[in-house]
Symmetry: C2
Subunit: 255 residues, 2 copies
Protein backbone atom coordinates (compact mmCIF):
# COMPACT_ATOMS: atom_id res chain seq x y z
CA UNK A 1 0.00 0.00 0.00
CA UNK A 2 1.27 3.50 -0.78
CA UNK A 3 1.64 5.89 2.08
CA UNK A 4 0.60 9.52 1.80
CA UNK A 5 3.34 11.44 3.55
CA UNK A 6 2.85 14.98 2.30
CA UNK A 7 0.36 17.55 3.56
CA UNK A 8 0.43 19.15 0.14
CA UNK A 9 -1.01 16.01 -1.46
CA UNK A 10 -4.30 17.02 -3.12
CA UNK A 11 -6.40 14.46 -1.25
CA UNK A 12 -4.96 15.60 2.07
CA UNK A 13 -5.82 19.17 1.12
CA UNK A 14 -9.40 18.14 0.36
CA UNK A 15 -9.75 16.28 3.68
CA UNK A 16 -8.25 19.17 5.60
CA UNK A 17 -10.84 21.48 4.08
CA UNK A 18 -13.62 19.40 5.63
CA UNK A 19 -13.19 21.40 8.82
CA UNK A 20 -14.96 24.20 6.92
CA UNK A 21 -18.72 24.10 6.36
CA UNK A 22 -18.44 25.31 2.77
CA UNK A 23 -16.16 22.43 1.83
CA UNK A 24 -18.34 19.91 3.65
CA UNK A 25 -21.32 21.02 1.59
CA UNK A 26 -19.35 21.02 -1.64
CA UNK A 27 -17.75 17.62 -1.08
CA UNK A 28 -20.86 16.27 0.69
CA UNK A 29 -18.60 14.72 3.29
CA UNK A 30 -17.37 15.16 6.82
CA UNK A 31 -14.56 13.73 8.89
CA UNK A 32 -14.42 11.45 11.91
CA UNK A 33 -11.26 11.57 14.03
CA UNK A 34 -10.46 8.76 16.46
CA UNK A 35 -11.07 5.09 17.04
CA UNK A 36 -14.34 5.32 18.96
CA UNK A 37 -16.03 7.37 16.24
CA UNK A 38 -14.72 5.23 13.38
CA UNK A 39 -15.80 2.03 15.15
CA UNK A 40 -19.28 3.46 15.73
CA UNK A 41 -19.56 4.48 12.07
CA UNK A 42 -18.65 0.95 10.93
CA UNK A 43 -20.97 -0.64 13.49
CA UNK A 44 -23.90 1.55 12.43
CA UNK A 45 -23.34 1.03 8.68
CA UNK A 46 -22.52 4.63 7.90
CA UNK A 47 -21.62 5.58 4.31
CA UNK A 48 -17.84 5.74 4.82
CA UNK A 49 -15.90 6.60 1.69
CA UNK A 50 -12.33 6.35 2.98
CA UNK A 51 -10.54 5.28 6.12
CA UNK A 52 -7.18 6.93 6.80
CA UNK A 53 -4.83 5.15 9.13
CA UNK A 54 -1.22 5.49 10.28
CA UNK A 55 1.21 2.60 10.41
CA UNK A 56 1.42 2.90 14.19
CA UNK A 57 -2.31 3.01 14.82
CA UNK A 58 -2.71 0.93 17.97
CA UNK A 59 -5.91 -0.95 17.22
CA UNK A 60 -4.96 -1.78 13.66
CA UNK A 61 -5.62 -5.50 14.13
CA UNK A 62 -9.15 -4.89 15.33
CA UNK A 63 -10.02 -2.72 12.34
CA UNK A 64 -12.66 -4.52 10.29
CA UNK A 65 -13.13 -2.46 7.17
CA UNK A 66 -16.33 -2.93 5.16
CA UNK A 67 -15.74 -4.22 1.61
CA UNK A 68 -16.48 -1.07 -0.35
CA UNK A 69 -14.35 1.25 1.79
CA UNK A 70 -10.96 2.45 0.60
CA UNK A 71 -8.21 2.28 3.22
CA UNK A 72 -5.40 4.79 2.82
CA UNK A 73 -2.21 4.83 4.82
CA UNK A 74 -0.99 8.20 6.03
CA UNK A 75 2.14 9.30 7.84
CA UNK A 76 2.09 10.57 11.42
CA UNK A 77 2.70 14.05 10.09
CA UNK A 78 -0.34 13.94 7.83
CA UNK A 79 -2.39 12.64 10.77
CA UNK A 80 -1.22 15.58 12.87
CA UNK A 81 -2.00 17.95 10.02
CA UNK A 82 -5.56 16.62 9.65
CA UNK A 83 -6.46 16.36 13.32
CA UNK A 84 -7.77 19.16 15.51
CA UNK A 85 -6.44 17.40 18.61
CA UNK A 86 -2.82 17.69 19.73
CA UNK A 87 -2.26 13.90 19.86
CA UNK A 88 -4.34 12.24 17.16
CA UNK A 89 -4.89 8.48 17.49
CA UNK A 90 -3.98 7.94 13.84
CA UNK A 91 -7.36 6.85 12.50
CA UNK A 92 -9.89 8.89 10.52
CA UNK A 93 -12.93 8.15 8.40
CA UNK A 94 -14.37 10.32 5.68
CA UNK A 95 -18.14 9.90 5.74
CA UNK A 96 -20.81 11.05 3.29
CA UNK A 97 -23.09 13.68 4.78
CA UNK A 98 -26.50 12.16 5.46
CA UNK A 99 -29.06 13.33 2.93
CA UNK A 100 -31.18 15.80 4.79
CA UNK A 101 -33.70 13.18 5.77
CA UNK A 102 -36.36 15.86 5.49
CA UNK A 103 -37.80 14.90 8.81
CA UNK A 104 -41.35 16.13 8.97
CA UNK A 105 -42.79 17.45 12.22
CA UNK A 106 -46.15 15.97 11.13
CA UNK A 107 -44.71 12.50 11.48
CA UNK A 108 -42.22 12.92 14.30
CA UNK A 109 -42.80 10.60 17.24
CA UNK A 110 -41.10 10.35 20.60
CA UNK A 111 -39.11 13.09 22.28
CA UNK A 112 -37.32 15.80 20.30
CA UNK A 113 -34.75 18.35 21.32
CA UNK A 114 -35.01 21.73 19.60
CA UNK A 115 -31.81 23.82 19.59
CA UNK A 116 -32.59 27.53 19.24
CA UNK A 117 -29.45 29.49 18.41
CA UNK A 118 -27.10 27.38 20.52
CA UNK A 119 -23.61 28.37 19.50
CA UNK A 120 -20.95 26.56 21.47
CA UNK A 121 -19.96 23.42 19.54
CA UNK A 122 -19.07 21.53 22.72
CA UNK A 123 -22.48 22.31 24.25
CA UNK A 124 -24.28 21.24 21.07
CA UNK A 125 -22.40 17.96 20.76
CA UNK A 126 -22.88 17.19 24.45
CA UNK A 127 -26.63 17.83 24.16
CA UNK A 128 -26.92 15.48 21.18
CA UNK A 129 -25.03 12.82 23.14
CA UNK A 130 -27.30 13.33 26.17
CA UNK A 131 -30.45 13.21 24.00
CA UNK A 132 -29.22 9.89 22.61
CA UNK A 133 -28.56 8.50 26.11
CA UNK A 134 -32.01 9.63 27.22
CA UNK A 135 -33.74 7.86 24.33
CA UNK A 136 -34.78 10.93 22.35
CA UNK A 137 -35.85 10.40 18.73
CA UNK A 138 -34.04 13.37 17.28
CA UNK A 139 -32.59 16.85 17.48
CA UNK A 140 -33.71 19.78 15.32
CA UNK A 141 -31.09 22.49 14.72
CA UNK A 142 -32.86 25.83 14.35
CA UNK A 143 -31.49 29.12 13.06
CA UNK A 144 -28.25 30.43 14.51
CA UNK A 145 -26.87 27.10 15.72
CA UNK A 146 -23.32 25.99 15.00
CA UNK A 147 -23.16 23.47 12.15
CA UNK A 148 -23.82 19.89 13.21
CA UNK A 149 -20.79 18.47 11.38
CA UNK A 150 -18.23 20.97 12.62
CA UNK A 151 -15.25 19.05 14.05
CA UNK A 152 -15.81 20.14 17.67
CA UNK A 153 -19.50 19.22 17.49
CA UNK A 154 -18.62 15.84 15.99
CA UNK A 155 -16.06 15.20 18.72
CA UNK A 156 -18.53 16.01 21.51
CA UNK A 157 -21.36 13.96 19.94
CA UNK A 158 -19.18 10.84 20.35
CA UNK A 159 -21.04 9.03 17.57
CA UNK A 160 -24.56 9.83 18.76
CA UNK A 161 -25.33 11.25 15.30
CA UNK A 162 -25.56 7.61 14.17
CA UNK A 163 -28.16 6.76 16.83
CA UNK A 164 -30.81 9.44 16.50
CA UNK A 165 -32.11 11.78 13.83
CA UNK A 166 -30.42 15.13 13.34
CA UNK A 167 -31.98 17.73 11.08
CA UNK A 168 -32.03 21.42 10.39
CA UNK A 169 -35.44 22.99 10.48
CA UNK A 170 -37.67 25.95 11.17
CA UNK A 171 -38.42 25.62 14.87
CA UNK A 172 -41.52 27.82 14.69
CA UNK A 173 -43.05 25.40 12.22
CA UNK A 174 -41.98 22.39 14.25
CA UNK A 175 -43.47 23.89 17.43
CA UNK A 176 -46.76 24.80 15.70
CA UNK A 177 -47.10 21.33 14.27
CA UNK A 178 -46.39 19.64 17.61
CA UNK A 179 -48.98 21.82 19.33
CA UNK A 180 -51.54 21.11 16.65
CA UNK A 181 -50.98 17.43 17.35
CA UNK A 182 -51.49 18.17 21.07
CA UNK A 183 -47.87 17.32 21.90
CA UNK A 184 -46.30 19.58 24.52
CA UNK A 185 -43.52 21.94 23.50
CA UNK A 186 -41.57 22.79 26.64
CA UNK A 187 -39.57 25.98 26.57
CA UNK A 188 -36.76 26.60 29.02
CA UNK A 189 -37.09 30.22 30.01
CA UNK A 190 -38.05 31.65 33.35
CA UNK A 191 -41.22 33.72 33.05
CA UNK A 192 -44.37 34.35 35.10
CA UNK A 193 -46.11 31.25 33.85
CA UNK A 194 -43.04 29.01 34.06
CA UNK A 195 -43.36 25.82 36.08
CA UNK A 196 -40.67 23.84 37.86
CA UNK A 197 -39.56 21.01 35.58
CA UNK A 198 -40.29 18.37 38.20
CA UNK A 199 -43.95 19.43 38.50
CA UNK A 200 -45.14 18.61 34.99
CA UNK A 201 -45.02 14.82 34.94
CA UNK A 202 -43.22 12.55 32.53
CA UNK A 203 -43.90 12.32 28.84
CA UNK A 204 -43.17 10.10 25.85
CA UNK A 205 -43.96 12.44 22.94
CA UNK A 206 -42.89 16.03 23.37
CA UNK A 207 -40.37 18.68 22.40
CA UNK A 208 -37.90 20.46 24.66
CA UNK A 209 -36.37 23.75 23.49
CA UNK A 210 -32.93 24.89 24.64
CA UNK A 211 -31.93 28.46 23.81
CA UNK A 212 -28.79 30.47 23.20
CA UNK A 213 -26.13 30.44 25.95
CA UNK A 214 -26.34 34.16 26.62
CA UNK A 215 -29.73 35.28 25.37
CA UNK A 216 -31.98 32.27 25.84
CA UNK A 217 -34.77 31.45 23.42
CA UNK A 218 -35.89 33.78 20.67
CA UNK A 219 -39.03 35.85 21.40
CA UNK A 220 -40.91 34.38 18.47
CA UNK A 221 -40.32 30.78 19.46
CA UNK A 222 -41.11 31.56 23.08
CA UNK A 223 -44.64 32.45 21.96
CA UNK A 224 -45.06 29.04 20.40
CA UNK A 225 -44.23 26.96 23.47
CA UNK A 226 -47.00 25.22 25.41
CA UNK A 227 -45.31 25.79 28.75
CA UNK A 228 -42.03 27.13 30.03
CA UNK A 229 -40.01 25.20 32.53
CA UNK A 230 -37.36 26.26 34.98
CA UNK A 231 -34.89 24.44 37.17
CA UNK A 232 -35.10 25.77 40.72
CA UNK A 233 -31.77 27.34 41.70
CA UNK A 234 -31.01 26.96 45.40
CA UNK A 235 -27.53 28.47 45.68
CA UNK A 236 -26.12 31.74 44.37
CA UNK A 237 -25.26 30.64 40.83
CA UNK A 238 -27.14 32.76 38.33
CA UNK A 239 -27.70 29.96 35.88
CA UNK A 240 -26.61 26.52 34.77
CA UNK A 241 -24.48 25.58 31.79
CA UNK A 242 -26.93 24.96 28.92
CA UNK A 243 -25.80 21.37 28.36
CA UNK A 244 -26.14 20.55 32.06
CA UNK A 245 -29.60 22.17 32.16
CA UNK A 246 -30.62 20.19 29.06
CA UNK A 247 -29.51 16.95 30.74
CA UNK A 248 -31.50 17.66 33.90
CA UNK A 249 -34.60 18.56 31.87
CA UNK A 250 -34.38 15.64 29.43
CA UNK A 251 -33.92 13.03 32.16
CA UNK A 252 -36.55 14.75 34.30
CA UNK A 253 -39.21 14.83 31.56
CA UNK A 254 -38.68 11.57 29.71
CA UNK A 255 -41.06 8.79 30.61
CA UNK B 1 -3.39 57.48 36.73
CA UNK B 2 -0.43 55.83 35.04
CA UNK B 3 -1.17 53.28 32.36
CA UNK B 4 0.83 50.09 32.09
CA UNK B 5 1.37 49.59 28.39
CA UNK B 6 4.21 47.08 28.26
CA UNK B 7 3.99 43.33 28.62
CA UNK B 8 7.54 43.32 29.89
CA UNK B 9 6.57 45.41 32.92
CA UNK B 10 7.46 43.36 36.01
CA UNK B 11 3.96 43.46 37.46
CA UNK B 12 2.48 42.29 34.18
CA UNK B 13 4.98 39.44 34.15
CA UNK B 14 3.93 38.46 37.68
CA UNK B 15 0.23 38.52 36.77
CA UNK B 16 0.82 36.55 33.62
CA UNK B 17 2.55 33.83 35.64
CA UNK B 18 -0.64 33.32 37.66
CA UNK B 19 -1.85 30.98 34.91
CA UNK B 20 0.70 28.51 36.37
CA UNK B 21 -0.01 26.66 39.59
CA UNK B 22 3.51 27.12 40.91
CA UNK B 23 3.26 30.90 40.63
CA UNK B 24 -0.22 30.93 42.18
CA UNK B 25 1.13 29.10 45.21
CA UNK B 26 4.22 31.33 45.43
CA UNK B 27 2.31 34.61 45.07
CA UNK B 28 -0.73 33.24 46.95
CA UNK B 29 -2.96 34.81 44.31
CA UNK B 30 -5.07 33.95 41.31
CA UNK B 31 -6.64 35.94 38.52
CA UNK B 32 -10.24 36.70 37.54
CA UNK B 33 -10.86 37.68 33.93
CA UNK B 34 -14.11 39.40 32.95
CA UNK B 35 -16.83 41.62 34.35
CA UNK B 36 -19.13 38.94 35.75
CA UNK B 37 -16.37 37.37 37.83
CA UNK B 38 -14.98 40.69 39.09
CA UNK B 39 -18.48 41.86 40.05
CA UNK B 40 -19.14 38.64 41.93
CA UNK B 41 -15.82 38.96 43.76
CA UNK B 42 -16.68 42.50 44.88
CA UNK B 43 -20.23 41.50 45.82
CA UNK B 44 -19.02 38.56 47.91
CA UNK B 45 -16.26 40.56 49.66
CA UNK B 46 -13.38 38.59 48.24
CA UNK B 47 -9.81 39.59 49.19
CA UNK B 48 -9.02 41.45 45.96
CA UNK B 49 -5.54 42.97 45.86
CA UNK B 50 -5.67 44.74 42.48
CA UNK B 51 -8.15 45.49 39.76
CA UNK B 52 -6.76 45.92 36.25
CA UNK B 53 -8.88 47.81 33.79
CA UNK B 54 -8.51 49.19 30.28
CA UNK B 55 -9.56 52.70 29.31
CA UNK B 56 -12.23 51.30 27.01
CA UNK B 57 -13.75 48.88 29.48
CA UNK B 58 -17.45 49.18 28.80
CA UNK B 59 -18.89 49.01 32.29
CA UNK B 60 -16.35 51.39 33.79
CA UNK B 61 -18.99 53.64 35.30
CA UNK B 62 -20.60 50.78 37.15
CA UNK B 63 -17.33 49.67 38.71
CA UNK B 64 -17.54 50.23 42.46
CA UNK B 65 -14.12 49.48 43.80
CA UNK B 66 -13.78 48.69 47.51
CA UNK B 67 -11.60 51.20 49.41
CA UNK B 68 -8.52 49.09 49.97
CA UNK B 69 -8.22 47.84 46.40
CA UNK B 70 -5.63 49.26 44.04
CA UNK B 71 -6.93 50.05 40.55
CA UNK B 72 -4.40 49.89 37.75
CA UNK B 73 -4.98 51.00 34.21
CA UNK B 74 -3.63 48.74 31.48
CA UNK B 75 -3.49 49.07 27.72
CA UNK B 76 -5.55 46.87 25.38
CA UNK B 77 -2.36 45.06 24.46
CA UNK B 78 -1.57 44.19 28.05
CA UNK B 79 -5.17 43.01 28.49
CA UNK B 80 -4.77 40.74 25.47
CA UNK B 81 -1.46 39.50 26.81
CA UNK B 82 -2.96 38.62 30.20
CA UNK B 83 -6.19 37.05 29.00
CA UNK B 84 -6.66 33.47 27.87
CA UNK B 85 -9.67 34.49 25.75
CA UNK B 86 -9.31 35.96 22.27
CA UNK B 87 -11.41 39.07 23.05
CA UNK B 88 -10.88 40.04 26.68
CA UNK B 89 -13.43 42.43 28.20
CA UNK B 90 -10.67 44.59 29.65
CA UNK B 91 -11.24 43.93 33.34
CA UNK B 92 -9.30 41.65 35.67
CA UNK B 93 -8.98 41.20 39.40
CA UNK B 94 -6.07 39.69 41.26
CA UNK B 95 -7.45 37.85 44.28
CA UNK B 96 -5.69 36.30 47.26
CA UNK B 97 -6.00 32.53 47.32
CA UNK B 98 -8.40 31.53 50.09
CA UNK B 99 -6.53 30.05 53.02
CA UNK B 100 -7.14 26.35 52.82
CA UNK B 101 -10.12 26.55 55.10
CA UNK B 102 -9.14 23.10 56.36
CA UNK B 103 -12.67 21.89 56.05
CA UNK B 104 -13.08 18.89 58.27
CA UNK B 105 -15.26 15.98 57.20
CA UNK B 106 -16.22 15.54 60.86
CA UNK B 107 -18.05 18.85 60.75
CA UNK B 108 -19.29 18.99 57.16
CA UNK B 109 -23.03 19.41 56.82
CA UNK B 110 -25.29 19.43 53.78
CA UNK B 111 -24.45 17.94 50.40
CA UNK B 112 -20.86 17.57 49.19
CA UNK B 113 -19.46 16.78 45.79
CA UNK B 114 -16.28 14.67 45.78
CA UNK B 115 -14.17 14.92 42.62
CA UNK B 116 -12.00 11.83 42.15
CA UNK B 117 -9.34 12.43 39.51
CA UNK B 118 -11.49 14.61 37.26
CA UNK B 119 -9.11 16.21 34.80
CA UNK B 120 -10.90 18.40 32.29
CA UNK B 121 -10.91 21.97 33.65
CA UNK B 122 -14.18 22.80 31.87
CA UNK B 123 -15.90 19.78 33.42
CA UNK B 124 -14.58 20.64 36.87
CA UNK B 125 -15.66 24.27 36.69
CA UNK B 126 -19.08 23.32 35.35
CA UNK B 127 -19.59 20.82 38.17
CA UNK B 128 -18.70 23.42 40.81
CA UNK B 129 -21.19 25.84 39.18
CA UNK B 130 -23.88 23.14 39.13
CA UNK B 131 -23.19 22.17 42.77
CA UNK B 132 -23.65 25.83 43.69
CA UNK B 133 -26.94 26.05 41.76
CA UNK B 134 -28.15 22.88 43.44
CA UNK B 135 -27.45 24.19 46.93
CA UNK B 136 -24.48 21.98 47.77
CA UNK B 137 -22.30 23.00 50.72
CA UNK B 138 -18.98 22.29 49.09
CA UNK B 139 -16.72 20.43 46.71
CA UNK B 140 -13.72 18.33 47.73
CA UNK B 141 -10.95 17.98 45.15
CA UNK B 142 -9.30 14.61 45.56
CA UNK B 143 -6.02 13.36 44.10
CA UNK B 144 -5.45 13.74 40.38
CA UNK B 145 -7.89 16.60 39.79
CA UNK B 146 -6.94 19.69 37.82
CA UNK B 147 -6.10 22.64 40.08
CA UNK B 148 -9.15 24.57 41.24
CA UNK B 149 -7.67 27.98 40.37
CA UNK B 150 -6.45 27.13 36.88
CA UNK B 151 -7.79 29.79 34.46
CA UNK B 152 -10.13 27.41 32.58
CA UNK B 153 -11.59 26.07 35.81
CA UNK B 154 -12.09 29.62 37.08
CA UNK B 155 -13.82 30.63 33.85
CA UNK B 156 -16.22 27.67 33.99
CA UNK B 157 -17.00 28.14 37.70
CA UNK B 158 -18.46 31.57 36.87
CA UNK B 159 -17.88 32.82 40.40
CA UNK B 160 -19.37 29.83 42.20
CA UNK B 161 -16.12 29.49 44.18
CA UNK B 162 -17.39 32.48 46.20
CA UNK B 163 -20.67 30.73 47.05
CA UNK B 164 -19.66 27.33 48.36
CA UNK B 165 -16.66 25.73 50.02
CA UNK B 166 -13.88 24.36 47.86
CA UNK B 167 -11.12 22.30 49.38
CA UNK B 168 -8.50 19.73 48.55
CA UNK B 169 -8.67 16.58 50.61
CA UNK B 170 -8.16 12.86 50.94
CA UNK B 171 -11.43 11.43 49.63
CA UNK B 172 -10.92 8.08 51.36
CA UNK B 173 -10.83 9.88 54.71
CA UNK B 174 -13.82 12.03 53.79
CA UNK B 175 -15.84 8.99 52.72
CA UNK B 176 -14.94 7.02 55.86
CA UNK B 177 -15.90 9.93 58.09
CA UNK B 178 -19.24 10.45 56.31
CA UNK B 179 -20.08 6.77 56.63
CA UNK B 180 -19.14 6.77 60.31
CA UNK B 181 -21.60 9.61 60.75
CA UNK B 182 -24.22 7.51 58.88
CA UNK B 183 -24.29 9.92 55.94
CA UNK B 184 -24.60 8.22 52.55
CA UNK B 185 -21.65 8.38 50.15
CA UNK B 186 -23.02 7.78 46.67
CA UNK B 187 -20.57 6.54 44.07
CA UNK B 188 -21.29 6.82 40.38
CA UNK B 189 -20.09 3.60 38.88
CA UNK B 190 -22.13 0.84 37.31
CA UNK B 191 -21.63 -2.41 39.23
CA UNK B 192 -23.75 -5.35 40.32
CA UNK B 193 -25.07 -3.59 43.38
CA UNK B 194 -25.63 -0.24 41.66
CA UNK B 195 -29.08 1.30 41.91
CA UNK B 196 -30.81 3.69 39.56
CA UNK B 197 -30.33 7.23 40.87
CA UNK B 198 -34.07 7.89 40.93
CA UNK B 199 -34.76 4.93 43.23
CA UNK B 200 -32.85 6.06 46.30
CA UNK B 201 -34.94 8.98 47.53
CA UNK B 202 -33.85 12.53 48.22
CA UNK B 203 -31.32 13.55 50.82
CA UNK B 204 -30.07 16.64 52.63
CA UNK B 205 -26.73 15.45 54.02
CA UNK B 206 -24.71 13.21 51.73
CA UNK B 207 -21.73 12.97 49.41
CA UNK B 208 -21.74 12.27 45.69
CA UNK B 209 -18.52 11.07 44.04
CA UNK B 210 -17.77 11.78 40.37
CA UNK B 211 -14.81 9.95 38.85
CA UNK B 212 -12.28 10.43 36.07
CA UNK B 213 -13.65 11.01 32.55
CA UNK B 214 -12.12 7.88 31.08
CA UNK B 215 -11.49 5.55 34.00
CA UNK B 216 -14.21 6.38 36.49
CA UNK B 217 -13.64 6.25 40.23
CA UNK B 218 -10.52 4.79 41.79
CA UNK B 219 -10.83 1.20 43.10
CA UNK B 220 -9.94 2.23 46.62
CA UNK B 221 -12.58 4.92 46.86
CA UNK B 222 -15.16 2.67 45.24
CA UNK B 223 -14.80 0.37 48.27
CA UNK B 224 -15.67 3.24 50.59
CA UNK B 225 -18.99 4.21 49.01
CA UNK B 226 -22.27 3.29 50.68
CA UNK B 227 -24.03 2.67 47.37
CA UNK B 228 -23.28 3.11 43.70
CA UNK B 229 -25.74 4.87 41.44
CA UNK B 230 -26.25 4.73 37.71
CA UNK B 231 -28.26 6.76 35.26
CA UNK B 232 -30.31 4.44 33.04
CA UNK B 233 -29.19 4.82 29.43
CA UNK B 234 -32.03 4.29 26.97
CA UNK B 235 -30.38 5.04 23.63
CA UNK B 236 -27.12 3.83 22.14
CA UNK B 237 -24.77 6.33 23.76
CA UNK B 238 -22.17 4.53 25.85
CA UNK B 239 -22.06 7.13 28.54
CA UNK B 240 -22.81 10.71 29.49
CA UNK B 241 -20.43 13.63 29.78
CA UNK B 242 -19.28 13.68 33.42
CA UNK B 243 -20.56 17.22 34.08
CA UNK B 244 -23.98 16.38 32.62
CA UNK B 245 -24.14 13.17 34.66
CA UNK B 246 -23.17 15.12 37.79
CA UNK B 247 -26.00 17.61 37.12
CA UNK B 248 -28.61 14.88 36.72
CA UNK B 249 -27.42 13.13 39.89
CA UNK B 250 -27.14 16.28 42.02
CA UNK B 251 -30.60 17.57 41.10
CA UNK B 252 -32.03 14.05 41.37
CA UNK B 253 -30.64 13.42 44.87
CA UNK B 254 -30.91 16.79 46.58
CA UNK B 255 -33.86 17.21 48.86
Amino acid sequence: MDIITSSSNQRVKDWKKLSQKKARIKQEKYMLDGWHLVKEAILFDQPISEILVTQDFKHRNELEVPDNVEVIEISDNVAKHLSETPSPQGIFAVVNLPENAEEKPEKATGAWLFLDGVQDPGNIGTMVRTADACGFSGVVFGEGCADMFQPKVVRAMQGSQFHLKLCSGNLIEWAKEFKQRKLPVFGSELNDQARSYDQVGRHSDFALVMGNEGNGMSEKLLKETSLNLYIPIKGHAESLNVAVAAGILMFGLME
